[in-house]
């Protein structure tokens, strides 16, 4: 029941924030802040409970209720270590999104927070639902608020970006819906039980060709969400045009729903087809890593530059998922979390700069380290995290993914390792252009204030903590990952 309360909490907060905005914008912000704080407290509580008795049942908490019994649709939510970690990330970035929008969002504050909270609710739903129809439902719920966030509070080219985002995601959702219906009918035909229940659908027997086509429907949907080359071109526009909070949520959470989809649905539902598909997927992953990195280097718009970093980093995730071993998969889980933190932080820095100097063009920046030393220090920190320096969580993620992949595919892992050099080149480029050198023109800009220092400081602590003590996080997801990998590998061989 507590899982349902999470959703109700977010939606309730959103509605309330919208209602009170008539009287006070600050109150609306405070309510959202309170809602997200409560959310994070509940998630931490769940995690602590999970850590105390991790063995035994597969799902640590679950909730089932009939929704449309005629079609076998249930309101079924459940969480294991993996989903709890994703919820932790969601709650944390949600909280930060409220904080970073405090000054930036001045127009229609109530409606903004309404959308923000519903977006978080949609993402939470995706990470929790155990019913395929419900999954599709939440998948679409994520779409609408984000469309508004981009198209109302975005930058100069927001309508174009929002439409592009909408069309790509909607198209992908359609493919996924077809696949969901396909597996629904095949299972119904085989057993006589027509249900969308994830756990019942897991063992569905089908012809290899059918399985492959249905798998492809899911895979393309998740490729688009994960912004894998060549399905990535919605991402730079959406990320660049969104308000900072929107970019943080897009990069930190929305992309991760694609990765989560692969782990939760594609691999367990279609183990055989996934094995067949692995060489293609891994190659796409490597292409994303390198081509994405090349695109990062070419950009002059700071937010667009950071956006392409996601393309490169998501390549690692895809590569690791299709390596089919525990080490790479744990790396993937790690990467999902740390990418949310490090890229989120870079977006926040880009947003803060944009707020202060009204431009995102890096050719008009330079020498900011001396003007805003605190921001400069934070930028150095997160640039180093982005290029995967040991000591930061990103290194653990990349090292585990590459090492795990190396055990299954040496060639692709070695090519992917070139991404290490590539990321060095583009990440240092940011520092050089924005913070080093002479000032482009004399400006007086304010350094980070206390609210901003809290945001950046907590992100920095987390990314360093994960780099030095990654076991804390890896332990939580181990049992889910082991179960998954065993399942995928046992069915095939």
């Amino acid at each position: 029941m507590i899982l349902v309360w999470l959703l109700i909490l977010l939606m309730g907060t959103g509605l309330l924030a919208w209602l009170v905005a008539k009287w006070s914008a600050t109150l609306s912000r405070l309510i959202s802040l309170a809602g997200t704080v409560m959310y994070i407290v509940i998630v931490i509580f769940l995690l602590v409970e999970y850590k105390q008795n991790p063995v035994g049942q597969k799902w640590t908490v679950s909730f089932t209720h009939e929704w449309i019994p005629t079609f076998g649709i249930q309101l079924k939510l459940a969480a294991d270590g993996l989903s709890l970690l994703m919820l932790l990330l969601t709650s944390f970035l949600g909280l930060l999104s409220v904080l970073i929008s405090w000054k930036e969002i001045q127009k229609r504050v109530g409606f903004f927070h309404f959308n923000l909270m519903f977006e978080l609710a949609g993402i939470t739903g995706v990470f929790l639902c155990m019913d395929m129809f419900l999954f599709y439902f939440f998948w679409e719920v994520m779409l609408i608020p984000m469309f508004f966030l981009i198209s109302i509070w975005g930058n100069e080219n927001r309508i174009y970006a929002a439409n592009k985002f909408f069309l790509f995601t909607q198209g992908s959702g359609l493919l996924m819906l077809l696949s969901i219906l396909g597996i629904y009918f095949i299972h119904g035909h085989n057993t006589g039980i027509y249900t969308f229940d994830y756990e019942l659908l897991l063992g569905t027997v089908m012809l290899p060709q059918t399985g492959f086509i249905l798998m492809l429907g899911f895979a393309i949907a998740f490729f688009i969400k994960l912004s894998i080359v060549p399905f990535h071109s919605w991402l730079p526009d959406a990320h660049t045009q969104a308000p900072t909070a929107g970019s943080v949520i897009l990069a930190g959470l929305l992309l991760k729903t694609g990765a989560y989809g692969f782990i939760r649905f594609v691999l367990p539902l279609f183990p055989e087809a996934s094995h067949q598909f692995a060489p293609v997927a891994m190659t796409l992953g490597v292409i994303s890593i390198l081509y994405g990195a090349k695109l990062v280097f070419a950009q002059t718009d700071l937010k667009r530059l950071v956006a392409y970093i996601s393309v490169s980093h998501m390549g690692y995730i895809l590569l690791g998922i299709y390596a089919f071993n525990e080490m790479a998969m744990l790396g993937v889980v790690m990467q999902m979390i740390v990418h949310g933190i490090s890229t989120g932080a870079l977006f926040i820095i880009a947003g803060m700069l944009h707020e202060r100097i009204q431009t995102r063009d890096i050719e008009q920046m330079g020498g900011f380290w001396s003007t805003v030393p605190r921001m400069g220090t934070m930028a150095v920190l997160f640039v180093m995290a982005t290029l995967g320096l040991p000591g930061f969580g990103n290194f653990i993620a990349e090292a585990l993914i590459l090492m795990g992949t190396f055990l299954t595919n040496k060639t692709l892992a070695s090519i992917a390792a070139l991404g290490i050099v590539a990321s060095t080149i583009y990440a240092l480029h940011i520092l050089q252009k924005v913070f080093y050198g002479k000032e482009f023109k004399p400006r007086s800009i304010a350094d980070l204030n206390i609210r901003e220092m809290v945001v950046m400081g907590s992100l920095a602590l987390l990314i360093l903590g994960l780099g030095l003590f990654p076991n804390v996080l890896l332990d939580v997801s181990t049992s889910s990952v082991v179960a998954l990998i065993e399942k995928v590998n046992s069915l095939n061989f």
Partner: protein
């Protein structure tokens, strides 16, 4: 007392952290106190730990200390743990003692700099990471330290970040070394796949029984690890970053780019020597790289006018000697030269820094001259270090360490006459460029007047290092001159002794006499050409060959052409991502179709009637005739 080992590593980290968090609120004096004190404490505790380690431990059994488990994933279980043996103790000793002296020097050298606190944050962090690198028992943790010191190097080269040239030099250092690091990381993958662990001692124990000598994976792994070492230690073909790194403040050049960080590659190879012994091919490649590097860099050093650039190329060249020694299996000779080089090269950089400061940021040796009388302490210490670098016979540490390498490059079972000739020629070059530098800087007419004399904090470390540059040689004397083997006995408790072919004393003596003569000739030629010669106080004119050597054999040009230009070109033509054109294409196709179709809805009834008629005719035709 050796249980205090963790403190040696903890002090520098603590110093860095304290300065990072509250450095802004501390006075400059308090910052200096913390920044220098942390390294000083580390040095003191190194001494305590070293005594504890050697006490009642005649065979030097390694001491292990584990702090916490870093990662635990399916056999990959690196601990943050320390492994103290004679090799790591030697490195720790050099890092903390030379480090402490350089920090001491920096307190005065950087005193007026606005980034005083930041400087010590980076320097302390560097010492901590470097200690982690040499003390760890696991290759993944070693990689942690390895990349960590690259970060410090990046931050310190770009320390004066307002000049974007410094930023670019820093970037270059990071990127070039990272090319090597990537190779090393892939090497670690192979090691993990084969041995299911990255614990160094476990791998070294298991490797000989798993891999045959010269088998494919053994050679490949050794080759990949060598790639990492080459990048870090600025050997051919990844040496290009080090000369540019001279834009860093001089103490940084002394500590990172001479004494410690750049020798990490030497440490890595010595540490994993078993893997290289399994790959004789890689070892001989290593010897050749070392020999080639020492010549290439020596010739470049001879054509520089910037005093720090001379020292930079000289460092590349001297590390070339260490690689040569490693390549012929003379492990302890490499470490001996690492140690003496750390002393005299650190001193040279510190001396050069002092000169540059008192001359008002003048780097050009041709504009110096006559400093012998004006800066006596700097002169005498600099002269001692230069003699050591040039391997002046009998009285300098550099003589004993370099002589051992030159001899081993012939006498070892992996040595050859060619390697020996290269080493000999290198010795000639070293003597030549070193005394060219000394004569240009300290003798002849004075061209720039010093503004002041360096303070006591600056000269004191110079004196201490000068004593070490002189005395450190006597811990290891060749068989022909006393045969005293304190250091090699110490090192060879951890690393194997070199396999020497049997030669008579007479042969060894003959070879030594030849190398001694070579050094003397080198110094004499330098004296002939550069002592008291009236060079104009400007940048010297160069012919094409000299310009080529001056520019470091135009490696930068080559890499620019091969890598940088294509990348920039690709970025320029594909900034907006050609894949997006496909989706844009769909968009405009839809737009066009929309236009065509909406053109049919123009509200003109006659048109509508017309199209109905045409449609009817076509339909009827199809129905009737098909």
């Amino acid at each position: 007392m050796k249980e205090l080992l963790w403190l040696v590593v903890a002090f520098p980290f603590a110093g860095s952290l304290i300065l990072m968090l509250i450095g802004k609120r501390l006075s400059r004096m308090a910052c200096a106190f913390v920044g220098v004190g942390s390294i000083l404490l580390a040095a003191v505790f190194t001494f305590i730990v070293g005594v504890g380690f050697l006490h009642n431990n005649p065979s030097s059994v390694p001491f292990n200390q584990s702090l916490w488990q870093w990662i635990n994933v399916y056999g990959l279980t690196p601990n943050i743990a320390f492994h103290l043996d004679t090799v790591s103790l030697t490195f720790v000793f050099v890092i903390t003692f030379v480090g402490a002296l350089i920090h001491f020097y920096s307190a005065q050298f950087m005193w007026k700099d606005e980034g005083f606190t930041r400087f010590f944050v980076f320097m302390n962090l560097f010492v901590g990471l470097m200690l982690l690198l040499v003390l760890t028992d696991n290759l993944l943790v070693l990689y942690f330290g390895w990349e960590g010191v690259t970060l410090c190097s990046f931050l310190l080269i770009g320390f004066w970040y307002k000049d974007s040239a410094n930023g670019y030099a820093a970037q270059k250092a990071f990127i070039v070394t990272r090319v090597g690091d990537t190779s090393m990381l892939i090497g670690l993958f192979i090691l993990f796949m084969t041995f299911h662990t990255l614990n160094i001692q476990d791998i070294l124990t298991a490797a000989p029984s798993t891999w045959l000598v010269s088998s494919g994976p053994a050679v490949l792994t050794a080759f990949l690890l060598l790639g990492g070492a080459i990048g870090k230690s600025a050997q051919l073909p990844l040496q290009t970053w080090l000369p540019d790194a001279m834009l860093a403040p001089s103490p940084v050049s002394a500590l990172l780019h001479a004494a410690t960080m750049v020798t990490a590659g030497v440490y890595l190879i010595a540490r994993t020597h078993v893997l290289f012994e399994l790959a004789p091919l890689v070892q001989s490649v290593m010897a050749m790289i070392g020999a080639a590097t020492l010549l290439v860099a020596g010739l470049s050093a001879l054509n520089q006018h910037d005093i720090k650039k001379v020292l930079a190329y000289s460092t590349i060249s001297q590390i070339g000697y260490m690689f040569l020694a490693l390549g012929v299996g003379a492990w302890s000779a490499a470490i001996f030269h690492f140690m003496t080089h750390a002393f005299f090269k650190a001193l040279l950089f510190l001396g050069a820094g002092a000169i540059i400061t008192v001359l008002g940021e003048e780097h050009n040796m041709f504009k110096m001259g006559g400093l012998r009388k004006k800066l006596p302490i700097v002169f005498w210490t600099y002269l001692i270090a230069s003699s050591s670098l040039a391997a002046l016979p009998f009285v300098t540490a550099g003589f004993y360490s370099k002589d051992k390498i030159i001899w081993m490059s012939y006498a070892s079972d992996k040595g050859s006459l060619w390697l020996w000739l290269a080493a000999l020629l290198g010795a000639l070059l070293t003597a030549l460029y070193t005394f060219r530098m000394v004569f240009l800087t300290f003798f002849g007419n004075s061209k720039t007047e010093p503004t002041h004399r360096p303070g006591a904090f600056i000269t004191m470390p110079l004196v201490v290092l000068a004593v070490l540059s002189f005395a450190a040689g006597f811990i290891e004397l060749p068989a022909t001159m006393g045969h005293f083997t304190l250091l090699s006995d110490f090192i060879e408790k951890t690393l194997p002794a070199a396999n020497t072919l049997h030669f008579s004393y007479a042969t060894e003596l003959l070879f030594q006499l030849i190398s001694i003569a070579t050094v003397i000739i080198g110094i004499f030629v330098a004296y002939k050409y550069y002592y008291n010669k009236p060079f104009p106080a400007a940048e010297p004119e160069r012919n094409k060959l000299q310009a080529f050597l001056y520019n470091g054999w135009d490696f930068d040009l080559l890499y620019d052409f091969l890598f940088v230009k294509p990348l920039v070109f690709l970025s320029r033509i594909d900034k907006n991502d050609f894949i997006d054109l496909f989706y844009k294409g769909i968009e405009s196709l839809m737009g066009a179709l929309h236009k065509v179709l909406s053109a049919t809805q123009n509200g003109k009834v006659r048109r509508y009637a017309m199209s109905i008629a045409i449609g009817t005719i076509i339909t009827l035709t199809i129905l009737l005739f098909l």
